[in-house]
Amino acid sequence: MQRIERVFPVLFCLTLLLCVPSLCRADDGFEGRWEGAILFKEGQIELDMVARLQQQPGGDWKAVVDLPVVGVVDHSTEDVRIEEDQIVLRFTLQGAEQTLTGRLDEDGTVIEGTFQRGEQPPSPVYLERRAAPEDRPDVELLSLSGPVELKERFNRDLGNVRLVLLLAPT
């Protein structure tokens, strides 16, 4: 009996040591900036979304959401619930409750789930852990004064399938 009493605190501490880090890892995994889209009609109508998640000193979570295409920036969420690898995030927009329900993948780099606006059917949502664009290194941006440089590059890349996109940056 005395042996059990001596061993119990050791076992208890060992159990605590084994469990606590895994709990912390699951929660820490959501902290940061997440960028992706709500796939209203996959491949066609995909609404860009950014969510910034931060755990408060007391343990509660705070989230701020951007939906830039519809002019929503730094929109605070009313409720963030995180349990292990699951997240439920709720906020109100134009009087309708928006609910994101997602799961963090094993690598801690992707949240996949659904996004539901009010009573409408849920749409898939996909978010990746990404640094803010202003914090990313600049990619090379070549200057074009007309079609000539593009034509040269296009012909230099002969032998490859080529896709030309003409876009507005905003």
Binding site: E140, S143, P147, F154, V161, R162, L166, A168, P169
Partner: protein, 125 residues
């Protein structure tokens, strides 16, 4: 928005090295300047992608004929070429194209999953 849809469905899902993508950012809307183009480009950092900033809208005219656009400017377009097309005097006729919000056939409205299928069909096994 179209650029990131293409990035998600074409670039992230097709890792073939014989694909080149030219993203030409143009001053179409208010606020479209080189800085905005740089921010948009930074969102799609991929070795097969070359980003350009076009300071004028000449390309929006030169790409009208190949896609059959009669009015307005050719922008928000996604123009696909096979591996042996040469750009000679004029912009060549593409294998296929897609668009957003242009007065062009509705069935060619951007569907990045379909675009990815068309890209795959042109790539060698």
């Amino acid at each position: 928005m179209g650029s990131r849809v293409v990035a998600r469905h074409v670039l992230q899902k097709i890792d073939h090295e014989d694909l080149r993508v030219y993203m030409v950012w143009l001053p179409i809307l208010d606020g479209d300047d080189r800085e905005a183009a740089q921010r948009s480009a930074n969102r799609i950092a991929e070795p097969r992608v070359t980003h350009y900033w076009g300071s004028d809208l000449e390309l929006t005219e030169t790409f009208k004929a190949p896609i059959g656009l009669e009015e307005g400017k050719a922008w928000d377009i996604f123009v696909l070429y096979d591996d042996d097309t040469v750009w000679g005097g004029e912009v060549p006729r593409p294998s296929s194209f897609m668009h957003q919000r242009l007065p062009l056939p509705e069935e060619r409205t951007l569907d990045a999953r379909e675009l990815a299928r068309e890209v795959r069909s042109l790539l060698p096994e």
